[in-house]
Amino acid sequence: AGSADTAKTFGLGRPAEADEIAAWDIDVRPDGTGLPEGSGTVAEGEVLFTDNCATCHGDFGEGAGRWPVLAGGQDTLKEDRPEKTIGSYWPYLSTVYDYVRRAMPYGNARSLSDDEVYALTAYLLYLNDVVTDEEFKLSKENFTGIHLPNEANFIADDRMAEAHNANKGDPCMTNCMAEPARITMHARVLDVTPGAGDDETSGGSVD
């Protein structure tokens, strides 16, 4: 009998087998680590997308109803209602492959083959004008050669440099405004009780 000690090991758990690791280790990184063997073309992807994805994401990735938009939105990031898509916002193509393989189609995840995910990823590149050739074939080999347009626009967390964070110190306690405060905006959604009244709104969405 002895007490706990951070440095020591406990001899708990069992070795993970190679096949077990392979079964779960499906993540893909921007440098291509994790990409499986295989390939798929834009044309193949179009068929797959129409069959498995378009009901939610629209034939051209424009999004049906409130389901996510996957294509378009280029040059909207500084506008009033930016549209963040694979083409307009996402920094890395690896994320598309990784995410579609792990989580799509929504409600039937892990049902696509590796080749099918290559084809769908190729088609999403096509819908976003990153490739223009319907015969383009995406493969493990050419994958890391492709870059998404917005990659350079991601920066490190610099919240600390914002004015209100940079100037620490005791905040003002009395007469902090020259004039009495006046109301500049009222809540737009007046009835928050779900089911009672009008649930429709022009409001934003949650991510």
Binding site: L12, K84, D98, Y106, P171, G204, V206
Partner: protein, 401 residues
């Protein structure tokens, strides 16, 4: 028997009949100790529930509901009321069927059962969990009338779990291992990259909340606890931990949970939840019913940087402030409860609270945030909230200048 003999005269007495007449619950037996092996709230509390906002999301399985902060007090959120956020619905997993794998840049890739995890030394810690999108709908301006909706993507419970460092140590992290990928077993197979420094600092692999097993919607049988950092990283139904030398740039750290600025640039890896507070009562869903006189102003404050040092409250929209009373335990990266007890004169109020944390960070105004980041950010809105209490006691969500 002489049932009622004493009552005939009583009912004719002056005063409140609820006092002068014998009530049923004072006469007849209530439920027995066998009635509720697992108890639930009174029928008179049926309105105290998590609520969602249907128009927010396309699918209720990838959606959010909100903690009814306006009905709660103290710093602990009851398990049944902790807000839910999931991306593929609530996975229902038999703990006997659950596995946790550690692999990647480690000496010995390992698989743990739940029983294995419960043999490591445990810790108990109180932490808030806030979604980075909490108050996100308010970024462009006052929108929702109720702190349940404006601030309800937060909860605070006691976790029991194993320090993540014990598990990593058991597998033996190679010196090249600088990042950790955490993955869930649910239908979204949720993933996030976590820097090794945080993983080895205060993260827990937790199997209990508030004393009992995690709730299914909070990741039963096991979740990651990443104290002070955005809720999306607290991977639920945790099944896999991969050690690597670089981050994975997963969908939830690129497409989502990145912060778009006015200049088109976007911040990534914005992990810490900034110092923040909100008045929970009075608030739009908790109006003042009693008129002027003694009024308890109550709220919660928290910071991903540690403890909350001070909360100031203004009743005039931020012109003048009074330091509130923080009551109950003040624990690092946990919710804090504050009160300001006032004598209300019945005139309209513009209520605000402003928290300051142990590192000296002060909660900014919403306008300060917009000035720094533009109108298109979604996450990390820790701006000061204003409630307009009207003379009739009703309360509205407003913005002031």
């Amino acid at each position: 028997a002489a049932a009622g003999a004493g009552l005939v005269s009583r009912s004719a007495l002056a005063g409140d009949p609820l006092i002068t007449e014998v009530q049923d619950w004072n006469r007849y037996l209530g439920d027995s100790v066998q009635a509720a092996p697992y108890g639930k709230p009174s029928e008179f509390e049926a309105h105290v529930v998590r609520r969602d906002v249907e128009w927010l999301t396309a699918s209720p399985e990838s959606s959010v509901n909100f903690t009814p902060l306006h009905e709660l007090d103290g710093i602990i959120t009851p398990n049944g009321l902790c807000f839910e956020r999931h991306h593929g619905g609530v996975a229902q997993i038999n703990p006997a069927d659950h596995r946790l794998m550690i692999h990647g840049l480690v000496d010995k890739p390992l698989v743990f059962t739940m029983e294995d995890l419960k043999r490591f030394p445990r810790e108990n810690r109180v932490y808030f969990l806030e979604c980075a999108a909490n108050s996100g709908m308010e970024w462009r301006g006052a929108q929702l009338n109720g702190c349940q909706y404006t601030h309800g993507m937060i909860h605070c419970v006691v976790y029991t779990g194993v320090p993540l460092k014990y598990l990593l140590n058991e597998a033996g992290v190679k010196t090249s291992g600088k990042w950790l990928l955490a993955e869930g077993a649910d239908a979204s197979a949720m993933t996030r990259s976590i820097p090794m420094e945080k993983a080895l600092d205060d993260c827990l692999v937790a199997f209990k909340m508030n004393g009992e097993a995690l709730r299914p919607e909070q990741g039963y049988p096991v979740r990651l606890v990443v104290p002070g950092w955005e809720g999306n990283m607290w991977v639920k139904w945790l099944r896999r931990l991969e050690v690597g030398d670089q981050p994975w740039e997963q969908r939830e750290e690129t497409s989502k949970y990145t912060d778009l600025l006015a200049n088109g640039k976007a911040r990534r890896f914005t992990w810490v939840m900034d110092v923040k507070s909100v008045i929970t009562s009075p608030s739009p869903q908790a109006p003042v019913a009693h008129g002027k006189g003694p009024l308890v102003i109550s709220g919660v404050a928290w910071s991903g940087n540690g403890t909350v040092q001070r909360v100031d409250v203004s009743i005039d929209g931020g012109r003048n402030w009074k330091t509130a009373r923080i009551d109950g335990p003040s624990l690092s990266k946990a919710m804090h409860r504050f009160y300001l007890d006032i004598d209300w004169d019945g005139s309209p109020l513009l209520l605000q609270s402003r928290a300051m944390d142990e590192q000296g960070f002060v909660q900014p105004t919403k306008n300060e945030l917009r000035l720094a980041r533009g109108d298109n950010s979604i996450y990390h809105n820790n701006g000061i909230q204003t409630w307009h209490v009207k003379a009739d006691g009703t309360v509205e969500n407003v913005e002031v200048a």
